[in-house]
Symmetry: C2
Subunit: 215 residues, 2 copies
Amino acid sequence: MKNTVETLINLFTVHEGKISILLFHKKDDPYKGYWMLPTSIVRNNETIEENMMNCLERSFPHHTITLTQNEVYSDLDRNPDNRVIGVSYVGLVDAKTIELSSQDGRMEMEWFDITMLPKLAYDHARVIGDGVHYLRKKFKETSTLTELYPSDFTLPELQHIYEIIFNKQIDRRNFRKKFIRFGLIEETGDIVKGSTGRPAKLYRFKDDIEKEELF
Amino acid sequence: MKNTVETLINLFTVHEGKISILLFHKKDDPYKGYWMLPTSIVRNNETIEENMMNCLERSFPHHTITLTQNEVYSDLDRNPDNRVIGVSYVGLVDAKTIELSSQDGRMEMEWFDITMLPKLAYDHARVIGDGVHYLRKKFKETSTLTELYPSDFTLPELQHIYEIIFNKQIDRRNFRKKFIRFGLIEETGDIVKGSTGRPAKLYRFKDDIEKEELF
DNA sequence: ACAAAAGTGTTAACTTTACACCCATGT
DNA sequence: ACATGGGTGTAAAGTTAACACTTTTGT
């Protein structure tokens, strides 16, 4: 009673004011010409986490990205060839990581606005739907933020991500007040130069964060 | 590259002011004499959900219990005999269900206070630890409550569960006010008779609940 | 009549929301 | 000097927390 097990990677980013997801273009049957999530079959001698991290490393070499496990898909017909159980992972990466990755873009992968997805292979439309839902939920925990911003960030930057993920406007003063009152962040003392307008202060997450829930 | 997949069932209840979990007594090697979660190997022709529900039906015949998927365990050595990937489910059942189930208790299963667990087989100590954590998190969603109380309940009853799960006292008036303001529940018109003290009003969850987050 | 548990209302502390002006930089 | 985006304070509305007495039943 053994089954094939695969990992499914939902890698999201915020891009031109939209939530986007990374997809591969499928070049062979079945679903030739469709797009799909990065996937990888789990071997007997690796954990699912190891498999997932290897899969990530192939798409984004030399970037430490943290994903969280979401759901398991086990419908009998989710793969037309044979029965495959899928374990889905969800993560959010920062604009900086995106730009770096698009440089080595020989492997025909693209970011797609989640409201304008192309034809999707297998049950990946469903997996992505669940992934987006989980992304919003997950985003209410500090761990997601510290993964997204392992180093410095500005408050307007952070606010921007919030506004897109939750799809609503937030007052700048209130956002700032709330975030500072949480006590999670500290000023680095530096500011961001180079763009138009007044430069923003840089912050970092404190090392000793305990708080789990945010919004 | 196929792997054995099993479901792991974390079934919690609130019992004498404590959170308890259902465990089986293991009668064969390995881990003979230890206790373990109900588990079941997933077959090629069933989904994981189907497997989980069959497993439940064996322990609690004729009771509709809803579980939610939690985590996947894939460490290579979690089972000493061979590699088994475990998918864990978490649910909370009501005192009424407990009493019914303990009647057909020929299969040597018991409820254990989670702070006083016996010797546990495999990695089940870890699985239960994660399960308890998830239980608390899950309990902040209305779906858990409607599953726990598909029919009538009293507010003191509900408050009692809250106090145990989150391990803190709540003011009766504030709890009531908050819950009623949510607009999730309605009086049935009936009251609970028979016990000492003033009888409590019975409530039920409305059909059209949309709210997800509670506390 | 008394013990036991349920039900109720008011005030203070805190949190959230709404809102407008000044500041630092690049052009 | 002006355009652009960042930073700041205050007051009103809403929410949460703290608190004690009355009501309904069983014995």
